[in-house]
Structures are given as C-alpha cells and as structure tokens.
Amino acid sequence: MTDDRINIAWMYPDTLYLHGERGNIMALVRYTMELGLTPHVRRIDLGTEDFDPFDYDILFYGPGEISSFRSVIDDISGYKHSLAEYISSGRILIAVGTTVALFGEKIVRWAPENDKNDVIDGLCIINTEAYERELVYGNDLDIRAEYGGYSMELIGSQIQMADYGFTENDQFKRFGSVIYGRGNNGSDGIEGAVHVNSIFTNMLGPVLVNNPWLTVRIIRTAAEVKGLEISKRDPEFTLERKSMKLKKQFIESKMNS
C-alpha cells in the first residue's frame, strides 16, 4: 500500500491555545487534501506517553500563556533529544508567537525595577534568549519570507510578549525580512528563524489560513522529505489573495500616514 499520508501533530492544543490557532490545523488539512495527499492529525496533550516526533511530518506548536511554559517544557524535555534530531533531519516543526521562546536558551520574565526576574530555562534548540516585555506590542506584521526555495509576502498579526534576537549563520537563517511591523525585536529587521525546514515565527493567529501560499510550501516540503510526489498544481487562493490585498492597503495607509 502506498503511504500518501502527511502526519501532523497538533501540540498541546488546550494549553498552547491563545489566538485561534486551530485555524492553522484546518488549513494544513485543507491544503494537504487539495494537493492530493491524505492528512492525518493527532492531538498531543501534556503527558501523552507514546509520542515520538518521528511518527510525524509536521509538528505545530501554537502560542500559549507564559505561565504555562514550565509545564510544556517539562513535557517536551521527555523527548527533547529526538525533537532536535527530528528538526535536523529536515522534518518540519512550526512554532508561533511567544512559544518560539520555549525553544531558546532561556525566558527572562519581566519584573518591576529592583525585583528579581524569574528565569525559565528553555530547550536550547535555537540559539536565542527571550526577554518578556513590560508592555505588550500588538500590530500587523508584513514580511518577505524565504521558505522551501520560494520568496513570498506574508501578512499576519504580531502580539509580542517577549523580544529576542539571534545571529544568522549556516544553521539558523531568518524566516523573513520585516516590511512593516516589529519582527523579533524591532531593531534588526529580522522576523523569526528557520532551522533546516522548521519555522519559528512571531506571526500568529490563523497564519496558514491567511497565507495559504506558505501552507502549500510547507506541505510540499514535508512531502519531499518523506519522498512523496505531488502532481497537482497549487490552488488559486482567489479569496485569500483578495483578503490580503485589503490588508496590504490598510498597512500601506499606516506606512504613509
């Protein structure tokens, strides 16, 4: 029997739950089917005992509350080494919003002056430290991203609870360059990071719904890593392109004001 399945793990859906990220899982399912493959999604909760990253082609980690991070890190620690191997092998992990910080070296929580900052040790999978902001930053995020050998414009929302930065090198490259918005820290013009085929991005909410051209790139990359052939062409994305145009006009009006 030919395996045409793309296996997707929806990581901690009730804990990393903040901004309607189930839309991203729906988008992965929708476009896997549109490309002629069979999506198979499993929810992975805290304490799921038989979880092995290598059973999946795509792992999706949505944004969660920082107060939950210790519980999530404890759980991931049980499979941390195989997760690092999974990423190195070219399989895909997607982490969005503040959850990116989980995969860095540490998360330093904001504290009033003279109070001691609480520090949460991260998973040390990407070379960055995250610093919780005193004030939340919320705005549109418009970037030029490079992924799967393609360049594409992506628009989404950024609700920045923590800033971070990293040095680009052979292993870690920027996910995108900021056209409008903050990106990783508001100063270096870099948005997110890509490590092999895994994406770490501040762009959150229904990113894969709003930017389906990225979604099909992710699915095509996952299929290629798995050795699956896709003969179908990309869908037209008519409604999504019209939607993006309206947002782009709105962002441009802000840039010009």
Binding site: D14, L18, G47, E65, P206, L239, S243, I251
Partner: protein, 449 residues
C-alpha cells in the same frame, strides 16, 4: 501644603464640572478627574468620608458596567446614598470625577457607599489611593490582545491589587477569576447552576478548551452557561470541583423572569443567561455588606438596564435585529452568534468586524475568527452572509468558507454605514436579518464627507 494643593485641585475640578455642564452636557466623565489629579496626584487618597468597608470595586473582562449599575440600584433602592461611576469611566480619572461630583467644597463625599467600575490594568493604582475592602471579579477572558496579550497578564495585574484586607467575590464558574480568590484575604464565590439555556460545546476534533490555572492541563466544562463560563473541573488536579459556591443561582425561569438562590425567589428582568452572573455577584456583595434579602429582592424587582444589548431597526424594507457587542472578544462574539442561532429560520447575517485599536495604530486583527464557531449559525439556517469591514471583511469570508459556506452567498462591504448596509440588503431575499457588531462602529449613521 498638600491640603492646599488638594483644595485647589478640588475647587478647580468642580469649576470644570460646571463649565462642561454648560458647554457639553453629558460629557466630562474623566476631565474633572484629570484636572484634579494633575494638580494633586494623590487627590483620590485625600478625599474625605470614604469608608473602605462600604466601598466596592467591580473589575473583569465582561459584565462590569451592568454589575455596577445593578449594585448601585440595589443600594439606592434601599435608601442608601451611593457614589458610582455609572458611565463606565473606569480609570483613576473616572473614579476621581465621580468623587468630585459627589463631594462638597470641603472634599467630603456625601454618599455612604462607593461603588466603582475599575479597569483591570489600573485596579492596583486606584486601590492604592482608595483602598476598597470589596472587589467583585466578573471574569477574565481573552480581550484587547493588543494591550493585554494574554489573559494571564490580566490575572497578574489583578493579583497585584489583592491583599489581606480585601474580600474578593469570585466567579466559581470561570477558571481564571476563581483562582484569584486564593490571593485575597477572603474569597466569596458565586456561581450559576446548569439551566435550560446552558449548552454543551460540540466535542469535535477541533474543539479546544483552556489550561487549568493551577496545573495547566485542559479544563473540562460540564456545561457552558455562557461562553467559557459554567461548572468546570480540571480532571488532572481537581481544581474547580472542590466545593459548593457560597452564592448560587439554583434554578432559573427565563419565561417567568425569576431565579432562586438558597430557596428564595428573585426577579430577573432579562432573558439571557449572561445577566445571571451580574445578579448573583451583586446578591453576594450586597448581602455581605449588610443589606437584607428583602432589600436586595426589592432592588432586583425594579432594575432595568436601559442600554439593552438587543435592538431592532428598519432598513431597506427589512427588520434588522441588532445584537450589540460592547467589546469585541471571542466570548462576546460567540455569545452573539449563539443568540443569532436561536432563530431557526433561514436568515441573513451581517457581521461587523472592525480593525482593532486598543493602542495606536489599529491592526487587522483576525485572531478571534478561529476562536469562535460559526457552525451554530450555519446550521440554524443561513441564506446570506454580509461582512462589513474596511480591511478584514474578506478574512471573515474565508473563515465562513472553512465552515463550508458557499462564497457565492457572501457579500463584503467596506463599512456599516446605513446606506452601505441598505445597498447590500436590497437585492437579497426577504429573510430575517441579524446584525452583530461592536457598539461604537454602529453609531455612525451617515457617511462622513
């Protein structure tokens, strides 16, 4: 020196009240307080005659204004004098303004009781100057992401204001606010039993709940009385299932407009479950502050919220049922969608989705679209969907497409100006029309030239 500064602040701000009443009556819910606090930053602290035992704050995401208005009414209908910020100006400046209006030239307030709506983020600063000993917490939900980020930020802000001198009235049916009781000197819990309008969410693959405030495992709701509020338990650590609430709505008769609590029947002049939480929290606070059940019952009998959330309007020859959202967050949107879905006839649904502006600049926020579930509306019978928005109308159309609604039956218009809405409705079949929108947006009846 400080008392001179206080009196200058008081008298200048009182003068500003008079001037505002002459030139813009009905406004000035913050300005006099701003003036006073500019002159004397500790102005509220310097006010005289406030008894912290007779002062109560109301905070939380949804329901603050109705709760404050109801509590104010219950006290005043019992013959008590109450100083309150009924217009919803809930920052320190709004609190100061209410006190200025209630005080004489000596800075002593005339009222015996103080009831104030307080913004969650500024509660700590307000309480520093006016140390009320009672706090009603309505609920803590995802809201104003541009400034709050996540609900945990709000929990933390409220916690900073709690202390051993405070009695917190906490909603036992709402996991985040119930947890705050542990940080108060005393916690009094209130809740609503599952009733005829409670519902169970569809437990399908894409359903999500929320993490437990203690152990971060998924919470399980036995039922939702309103969206994400209802009897719950954490199966992992038992949080939420420990005890009976101190004040509980036992039974509700929506048609007869009554509810019972501890065997006593109270009048309830609404038909939506949302208000039950306002009533039971007010019952708890008023009773704990010394009012008798008879006095409270009398107040409930005579209360009506004049700013109701439901209205009708005739437009393009069709009757439009308008469900107003005071603020736009997943819970208020879902509650509104559930109301629309109660009508099982084929209908036209208009949805106003504004760009978000909690802080400048506004942004094209589509985060809530996949937090809420449109399927109850689709299943109840949807003929046509009209989305009104400058920048994210088509994003809402995409959302409906994901729930299987045919894009040929969708219209996107750039705004909810009356002529735009009329133009969108005019070619459509004669069906019941529902409009769900945040209140301020709909206030613009004509296009601005």
């Amino acid at each position: 020196m400080s008392s001179i500064r206080f009196f200058i602040a008081l008298w200048v701000s009182k003068l500003s009240v008079i001037v505002i009443n002459i030139i813009a009556k009905g406004r000035g819910t913050n300005l006099p307080g701003q003036v006073a606090l500019r002159i004397d930053p500790l102005f509220v602290q310097h006010m005289k005659g406030i008894d912290p035992d007779k002062a109560v704050f109301v905070t939380g995401t949804n329901g603050k204004s109705t709760t404050v208005n109801l509590l104010h009414h219950v006290f005043t209908s019992s013959g008590k004098k109450v100083c309150a910020n009924l217009d919803g100006a809930n920052m320190l400046t709004g609190v100061a303004t209410a006190l200025i209006k209630d005080s004489g030239l000596s800075g002593r307030i005339r009222s015996e009781y103080v009831v104030m709506e307080t913004d969650e983020r500024y509660l700590k600063f307000i309480r520093k100057q006016l140390p009320a000993h009672q706090l009603i917490i309505t609920n803590i939900q995802k809201d104003q992401t541009q400034r709050n980020g996540e609900p945990g930020v709000i929990s933390r802000k409220i916690t900073e204001a709690l202390g051993p001198d405070l009695t917190a009235f906490v909603n036992q049916d709402e996991p985040r606010s119930f947890a705050l009781g542990e940080s108060a000197g005393r916690a009094v819990s209130y809740a609503v039993k599952e009733n005829s309008k409670s519902y169970h969410k569809e437990s399908d693959f894409f359903s999500v709940t929320m993490p437990c405030a203690r152990c971060h495992e998924p919470i399980v709701f036995h039922a939702h009385n309103i969206e994400n509020i209802g009897p719950f338990v954490c199966p992992s650590c038992g949080y939420g299932g420990e005890r009976k609430a101190d004040y509980l709505v036992d039974e509700v008769d929506y048609e007869g407009h009554t509810f019972t609590s501890s065997g006593r029947k109270y009048q309830f002049n609404f038909s939506t479950p949302y208000f039950l939480y306002c009533y039971i929290s007010v019952l708890a606070a008023a009773k704990e502050m010394g009012l008798s059940e008879d006095q409270i019952a009398h107040g409930f009998e005579t209360f009506s919220d004049l700013r109701g959330r439901l209205a009708t309007k005739s437009i393009a020859g069709k009757t439009l049922n308008y469900i107003k959202m005071k603020q736009e967050n997943p819970e208020t949107i879902q509650s509104s969608l559930n109301l629309v879905a109660e009508d099982k006839e084929d209908k036209i649904f208009l949805f106003g989705l504004d760009e978000t502006l909690d802080y400048y600049p506004a942004f094209t926020n589509t985060l809530a679209l996949f937090d809420v579930d449109f399927r109850p509306v689709l299943r109840s019978g949807l003929n046509h969907f009209v989305c009104m928005s400058k920048a994210i109308g088509r994003a809402a159309a995409v959302r409906m497409m994901y729930d299987g609604f045919d894009p040929d039956h969708m219209t996107v218009i750039p705004a909810s100006y009356e002529e735009d809405v009329a133009g969108a409705l005019e070619p459509l079949d004669d069906k019941p029309v529902y409009l769900v929108e945040e209140i301020p947006y709909y206030k613009k009846p004509k296009k601005q030239n």
